[in-house]
């Protein structure tokens, strides 16, 4: 890569990272806490790229001999340890500029499903008048702890997307937890029954209110819903 092309590539990668953080779209791919780091990296790369482009342009205009010398150097390094492969960095840049891959959906739920609790022991939930917001992960962990002893009878509210529109006598709700990025996502699931109205579509988001109703024969915790409400996909789709 010539200094000019290399600098332009850096500038584009930096701009991609800045755009991802400013628009909050990065939360589809990595943990929400990564935002500041992505922004810092983006600004540094963009600055490095801008200086490289300016230097290359100025050297080209004012002092061709100087530019020649630098390019000769770059050429030499290409032999020992090429940065020609840097072209590939334009692939994620273009992917994000043009198509914007979605957050993880129903496709990978079955291959990354939580099938056992963390071995945690939960205290019974305190009595409440309002339905209690709960993550699907906690719901699953409580379900696997002494067969859901700690949340029997409690009214809960769960949020997730539809992983299977038809699952037994209801549909399957799922949500991913990520530790770092979407590559390490683990899905928690529940089978929601008792919902009325139109059949849910795959990957649509729902908030369901209801109670825990045991664990199904296939190991999926059951949830008896009293109210089901569709909602737009959240900005941070992961728990």
């Amino acid at each position: 890569m010539t200094p000019l092309v290399g600098g332009t590539t850096l500038l584009l990668v930096g701009a991609m990272l800045i755009r991802l953080t400013v628009t909050d779209a990065y939360q589809r791919y990595v943990r929400a806490g990564m935002g500041p780091w992505l922004l810092i990296a983006g600004v540094l790369l963009a600055a490095l790229g801008a200086v490289a482009v300016l230097t290359a342009l100025r050297a080209g205009n004012e002092d061709p001999a100087e530019n020649e010398r630098h390019e000769g150097h770059g050429h030499d390094e290409d032999h020992e340890h090429g940065d020609g492969v840097g072209w590939l960095l334009l692939v994620p840049v273009l992917a994000l500029l043009l198509v914007v891959p979605p957050a993880l959906g129903s496709f990978g739920v079955d291959r990354s499903r939580v099938t056992a609790g963390g071995g945690d022991v939960f205290d019974p939930l305190p009595a409440a008048t309002e339905p209690r917001e709960m993550t699907l992960l906690e719901f699953d962990q409580r379900a696997f702890d002494r067969k859901g002893h700690s949340m029997r009878g409690a009214e809960l509210r769960l949020t997730g997307f539809v992983a299977r529109p038809a699952d037994g006598n209801g549909f399957r709700l799922a949500r991913y937890q990520i530790a770092c990025c979407a590559a390490d996502a683990v899905a928690a699931v529940a089978r929601v029954s008792g919902a009325t109205g139109a059949a849910p579509t795959r990957d649509a988001w729902f908030t369901v209110t209801g109670t825990f109703r045991g664990i199904g024969a296939d190991g999926v915790p059951e949830f008896a819903a009293s109210a089901v409400q569709q909602l737009p996909a959240p900005v941070d789709p992961y728990e």
Binding site: L10, L89, C180, A183, D184
Partner: protein, 342 residues
Amino acid sequence: MVSQLPTKPGQAEQADDRSPGPRRNRAKELALAPIAGLLILAVLARPQLVSLLDRPAVANWATVFVAVTVQALPFLVLGVSVSACIAAFVSPATLSRVFPDRPVYAVPVAAVAGAALPGCECGSVPIARRLMSRGVTPAAALTFLLSAPAINPVVMVATAVAFPGQPEMVAARFLASLIAAVTVGLAWTVIGRGDLLALATRPTPPSDRRPIEVFRQTAQHDFLSAGGYLVIGAAAAASLQTAVPRSVVDAFAESPVLSVLALAVLAVVLALCSEADAFVAAGLKQFSLTARLAFLVVGPMVDVKLIALQAGTFGRAFTLRFAPLTFVCALGSASLIGWWLL
């Protein structure tokens, strides 16, 4: 074949003679044309690309591919900055005070020094190469490469959080990773061949450029080269995550020996960030603790993304020998420590 390490870098190979030849000024003006062309092509093909994402498997691939790349970029920027700082501001004399000349002493020093770099594995590759080109014994630089992503404080804390109430898991990971890194380093002093690392150990010629210019150009060059290979590795990891069904992995969980091997291979295939792998390991409950330890020790040292990065940085011939050596050492060390502690 006589195995010999160049104790002084630069002994291995002389630089090929510079022959830039007459330059075509045209080429310089056209340099940006491919980028422009690629952009135009991509914009024209956009409807086709968008409709591809309607297929769930393609969308899953694209999401994991972008996620692995984006997640690694800040760490790569950190690694490249440290590497460029070493190139621009740290003299070989300073480094030789930190790292003893004799590999037997330098390797353990490098292993412990790895604990000081908070980051994941992508960042340590350019740093290791820079250490070599500044005269640090290759065995020590390689040990640093392996230990830094495995035993730094951030990774240790993540492991403690992922395995609550099991401090022995943190201790086992630290010990097993340290032992594996030192073993590979010492093994490399015995069986490693200097010519395999000739490119990386070639000293940077003294330069009349200002340090800040050296920093800028080193950072740009290292980022572009490592970033390109990172993209290859991310594509490989996304393909394997999308294509290999979980049931294949689960089938191995029952046998104690096979389960250790299966999770070691899974670590290579998944190419997780070393700061996140503990959370995934914690979720693999159908496997024994020793198998999960193998996952945590192998992952930061050998995975498809790292193999691509190392092949690009140090050369294919080197990686072809180094990756299997590291895999065996990491697996052995994890099995031993797991049998003892877990």
